[in-house]
């Protein structure tokens, strides 16, 4: 499936910004099942200095530094991507969740990279409420993927998709209490709950197709940055991405920008500005078949 992405971010400031430094996670990651055919980032005003690199997680990062006074900052990221994630393994053939947790804790050649995602992170610590919520899915010796698919469906049913009731800073415990939020809240809930049981889970940032495939129902979380959860099934099966906002297994409707321990590691546009007074943010995302 070839998908074309356009992600436009606009900051408008009440007074001019003298100096702005931004760190962008806006370039899709190259993956075995995601081919990035082309991509570009354009900023207005143009940056005086730009650099690109890979971050600790292997995500593509761009740094922009704006050193002239400006009243607005626009950044548009576009890409053409071909995605086809493989079907997940047979859930019943995956190992018991306890074994996966034990392997992650052990580390070593096959598990050390996954182990990183089993520890607390600032926005997704092993939350006791989230852990208790996840617990019913993790019955004794249950195959990990069966448990995860069960959890993916439960979050979709139990949590209301409501924008405006949470912000970037809303902690998992609050989302658990109010049972409502948006995609990044659901991703954090799932991650925090799995970590409470020692299971590695990572926050995946990306986009979801604006229009569902023919016959499909309308998805939640389109027209904006989307987020879902990468879950580790042990060394034999590796990672599978689950979208708890829509109870989907990620196959060909999603484009991956990158991943981290939580939103903080991969926020699409992060910046420090000097001046600017109050700022207003508008974001638009389009993702469709080419």
């Amino acid at each position: 499936m070839r998908l074309r992405v356009r992600h436009a971010t606009r900051y408008r400031y009440t007074t001019p910004v003298d100096l702005g430094s931004h760190m962008l996670h806006l370039s899709p990651r190259c993956l075995p099942h995601q081919r990035v055919i082309w991509d570009r980032i354009a900023a207005q005003p143009p940056a005086l200095s730009t650099s690109e690199s890979l971050d600790h997680f292997g995500n593509r990062v761009t740094w922009l530094s704006l050193e002239q006074p400006h009243a607005a900052f626009d950044v548009v990221a576009e890409a053409l991507v071909e995605v086809q994630f493989p079907a997940p393994p047979d859930p019943l053939a995956t190992p018991a969740w306890e074994d996966v947790a034990a392997q992650a804790r052990q580390g070593g050649p096959e598990a050390w990279e996954a182990a990183e995602f089993g520890f607390d992170s600032p926005m997704a610590p092993a939350d006791p409420d989230a852990g208790a919520y996840v617990a019913p899915c993790l019955s004794r010796r249950r195959p990990i993927l069966e448990a995860l698919l069960d959890l993916n469906g439960r979050i979709r049913r139990d949590f209301a998709f409501r924008s405006g009731v949470t912000t970037i800073r809303t902690p998992v415990s609050r989302v658990m209490a109010q049972r409502a939020g948006v995609c990044q809240d659901f991703a954090h809930v799932m991650i925090a709950g799995l970590r409470a049981h020692g299971l590695p889970a990572r926050y995946v940032s990306g986009y979801l197709r604006t229009r569902p495939p023919p016959g499909g129902k309308r998805r939640r979380g389109v027209d904006q940055s989307h987020a879902w959860v990468g879950c580790w099934l042990g060394p034999a099966h590796g990672w599978v991405d689950l979208d708890p906002t829509n109870d989907l297994v990620v196959r060909e409707e999603h484009v991956v920008l990158g991943w981290g321990r939580d939103y903080g590691d991969v926020s699409p546009v992060r910046g420090i500005i000097l001046g600017g007074g109050k700022h207003a943010l508008s974001v638009s995302v389009d993702l469709d078949e080419e």
Partner: protein
């Protein structure tokens, strides 16, 4: 075991090794001459010298907390009895620590590079990924790796009952204490020269020279005269003294985060002459705070874009921001294996036996015999260790449960009773447990130890391991030199010939700002004291005649303008009562004069690295005395009068010391400019307030004006006893030769601004314009047939002059110190409301 055994001092003495005596009733050989010198001391012996040492540290402001603040600082303390270490023993320590430093560098290179130690299972993931000091932005996935992530390393050591030193904690982030070690040596040598005579000890100075050289070598080779900045959180930091001291020792610019800026991927210092490049940053802030863009926001102590500049190779940070990851206490459990693997060597200097409780076998071993182990957080090297036997049963249970739930978060180190050394106590010399910190620097080829160190005396209630406490007692550490003379450090590298400079090229904007405000506050303090004293004199003699009443009313207006009193409408006897109450209030907590004293103390501390030691010491000692006097002011006006006299002497002393000790450039210009501006404002405002009355009463105002401007004697010499508006106003407003006149201030401002900004600058022209106005005002009075009437018309015009001076001050502020808008974060953790001051 005793319930308080977490306290190392109370464990049975027999367990501890004694540094001085050999257990068979004899002195160890390297103590003999020292001990003899100590016994031979005259004038009250060692105890008296201990008191003198305490006083010396206090007088020189060797402390962590601001002088003159409400909470009095606990000054640094050094025991008069040093800790001698034989040369061969120290050589062995140095070799062992140098190997550890090499090993830690290799571990850092791996963790922030290929991470083979994790992939091969040598280190468990928790040691890195559950370690808050592992900073992911420092991980280099592609591109050029940085060399020597560590340049500075320190280790805390204890000597066990078997006589072997072992490492209790590795310090790899920004280890503190070197300046304190150096101050211990300097002041001890001054107070106790007798102890130094019979022994040869290795000096500390070459170590600092070598370090300065090593820092310079980190700069790009094409930079002939590299610039090094020491990044400090500022005067509020507990180790501010050390930051200031190190900046001087190492010839660094002392900079706060807001003094530095990243442009085009390179780091610059904001100075009066624009942006100056910085090549090396010696950080004294936590690694996770160095760059709010990629790391923690940290309330403005970091520099936005610093990590990008590091990645581009445009600046080096010492130590690398991620280096703190190796302070994890649990790492000690893995060091022997890491040494074999990374260096192919066995570890020469062992850690105190340490286990990581993430291993099930280690856990059961520790839980089976908790009394033998200190429990420590696995990755946090700054929290103290816990001895479980010292805990209440519920606390103990809760700790064991936490270990059970998250075992990877804990480590355990074998309880090692530290060796004891003789310390001066109220009851004479007594053995006390000690922990030794030794410092090493990588000179580009090898690791070299400071021949000395910092020994910390554990007091009652001190817990072992963890952060170095800044109160309590320390010891100077002597490394005895070998026969045949001292081992000299390497010759310093030859610096290129410097061009001659006589200007204030690189004065950081913040320093200029601080000195400017120091000048203003000293003057404000003087003004307050002068006014208060004028009021006291009148209260003393009572107010009977109409002339006295008029004078008191004029004075009340001045006092109100200066914020010393609130109401001016009280009449009769009540005026005296209200006035004296208000004046007494001004030197108590929350009072105006006390506040001004505190501000002067804070600004003195902030400007400390630009003042000579003599100036600093004189200022702070005087401020301390004044604060003590202020606290001693009772209901009587006599004590208040004494205090005010002291304040006036202090203010005069500042002016004198500045005039005699500061080079007439940069810093002094701003100090003087601040003082002139403040005096111009207060003089014009005070004269306006004094003259603000009916023409027939103007004489009272004139007399007051002469007194406030300290010009009574001059006037009498010139005009004898006849008081007329024209001559009085000429003397206090227009006479350019009277250092208290407004004209004098304006002329001085103009000269300073000429020097700061260059001739024919608009700021200097504004000052000149104000001078002209004042001259014209006075001329009008002199030319008038009714001088008193004309003088009574002056107040609004004088207030306009004061406003003109204030506007000029604002323009100076904007041009040179420029308040930067507050940095704010967008996109994540959008919280940054603190205003950061700095210059654009």
């Amino acid at each position: 075991m005793h319930a308080d055994s977490a306290d190392p001092i109370r464990t049975p003495r027999a367990e501890h090794m004694d540094e001085m005596v050999d257990g068979k009733g004899g002195l160890r050989p390297h103590w003999r001459s020292l001990f003899a010198a100590c016994i031979a001391l005259e004038d009250g012996g060692i105890a008296e010298r201990g008191h003198r040492l305490d006083r010396a540290f206090e007088d020189e402001g060797v402390t962590g907390v601001l002088p003159g603040m409400a909470t009095q600082p606990t000054p640094w303390r050094c025991d008069p009895m040093p800790l001698p270490i034989p040369s061969a023993e120290f050589r062995a320590l140095e070799a062992g620590l140098a190997q550890r430093a090499r090993l830690l560098e290799a571990v850092l290179q791996d963790l922030y590079g290929p991470q083979n130690l994790l992939a091969d299972g040598v280190l468990p993931p928790a040691m890195v990924y559950a370690n808050p000091a592992f900073l992911r932005p420092c991980h280099v996935i592609e591109g050029v790796r940085r060399e020597s992530l560590l340049q500075l390393y320190a280790a805390d050591l204890v000597r066990g009952p078997d006589g072997a030193w072992r490492v209790l904690a590795d310090r790899t982030a920004a280890p503190a204490g070197m300046s304190y070690a150096r101050e211990n040596r300097r002041i001890l040598a001054r107070v106790l020269p007798e102890l130094f005579r019979p022994v040869q000890i290795r000096p500390l100075r070459p170590f600092f020279d070598m370090w300065q050289d090593a820092l310079r070598r980190l700069a790009p080779p094409e930079r002939a005269n590299p610039a090094i900045a020491l990044l400090t959180p500022g005067t509020g930091h507990p180790q501010w003294f050390e930051h200031m001291h190190l900046a001087r020792e190492l010839s660094c610019v002392l900079a706060e985060g807001s003094d530095l800026t990243v442009r085009g991927g390179a780091v610059y210092l904001k100075t009066l002459r624009g942006l100056q490049p910085i090549d090396v940053v010696l950080r004294r802030i936590e690694g996770r705070l160095v760059d709010p863009l990629e790391l923690d926001l940290g309330g403005g102590v970091g520099v936005t874009g610093l990590m990008d500049a590091v990645r581009r190779g445009r600046v080096r940070i010492v130590n690398d921001p991620g280096s703190g990851a190796l302070e994890a206490p649990a790492l000690a459990a893995f060091l022997p294996e890491l040494a074999r693997r990374l260096l192919g060597e066995t570890l020469r200097l062992a850690s105190v036996p340490t286990l990581w409780l993430g291993h099930a076998a280690a856990r059961s071993r520790v839980l089976a015999d908790t009394a033998a182990w200190l429990i420590r957080p696995a990755t946090d090297g700054l929290s103290p260790a816990i001895l479980t036997e010292g805990l209440d049963p519920p606390e103990r249970l809760s700790l064991l449960q936490r270990i059970e739930a998250r075992p990877w978060d804990y480590a355990a180190s074998a309880w090692t009773p530290p060796s004891v050394a003789p310390c001066c106590t109220a009851a004479g010399l007594a053995p006390r447990p000690i922990v030794l910190r030794v410092f090493l620097v990588f000179d580009g080829c090898e690791w070299r130890a400071m021949p000395g160190g910092l020994a910390r005396v554990l007091g009652e209630g001190d817990r072992i391991a963890g952060r170095l406490p800044w109160q309590g007692l320390s010891k100077d550490v002597w490394v005895l030199s070998e026969e045949g003379g001292d081992i000299l450090g390497p010759a310093a590298s030859v610096a290129p010939r410097l061009p001659i400079r006589r200007t204030a090229g690189e004065l950081p904007s913040r320093v200029a700002d601080t000195l400017f405000w120091l000048g203003r506050y000293v003057e404000r303090l003087e003004d307050s004291a002068r006014l208060a004293r004028a009021a006291l004199r009148r209260l003393g003699r009572g107010t009977t005649t109409p002339r006295d009443v008029a004078e008191l009313q004029a004075l009340s207006r001045c006092l109100k303008r200066a914020g010393l009193i609130e109401a001016e409408d009280a009449t009769g006897a009540a005026v005296a009562r209200a006035l004296s109450d208000a004046l007494l209030r001004s030197v108590r907590d929350g009072g105006r004069i006390l506040h001004q004293l505190s501000r002067v103390a804070q600004l003195t501390e902030a400007a400390r690295d630009r003042l000579t030691d003599d100036m600093y010491t004189t200022f702070t000692q005087a401020l301390r005395v004044l604060r003590a006097e202020a606290a001693g002011v009772d209901g009587s006006l006599d004590t208040l009068s004494q205090l005010l006299l002291g304040v006036l002497r202090f203010c005069a002393g500042v002016a004198g010391l500045a005039a005699e000790n500061m080079v007439r450039a940069g810093g002094w210009l701003f100090l003087d400019l601040g003082r002139r501006i403040e005096r111009a404002q207060s003089t014009s405002a005070a004269i306006a307030a004094a003259l603000d009355q009916q023409p027939e009463r103007i004489e009272a105002g004139l007399r007051l004006v002469l007194e406030l401007c300290d010009s009574t004697i001059t006037y009498r010499n010139r005009y004898l006893t006849v008081l007329q508006p024209g001559p009085v106003l000429d003397l206090v407003l227009a006479d350019p030769g009277n250092p208290r006149s407004l004209a004098f201030q304006l002329a001085a401002m103009r000269t300073r601004l000429d020097e700061v900004a260059g001739p024919s600058d608009r700021l200097a022209a504004t000052a000149a314009g104000l001078s002209g106005e004042v001259e014209a005002l006075v001329q009008r009075v002199i030319d008038s047939p009714e001088q008193a009437v004309e003088a009574a018309n002056l107040p609004p015009r004088l207030r306009a002059v004061a406003a003109g001076v204030a506007a000029l001050s604002d323009r100076i502020d904007r041009r040179y110190f420029a308040l930067l808008p507050a940095p704010q974060a967008v996109g994540v953790n959008e919280v940054a409301d603190e205003t950061i001051r700095g210059a654009a």
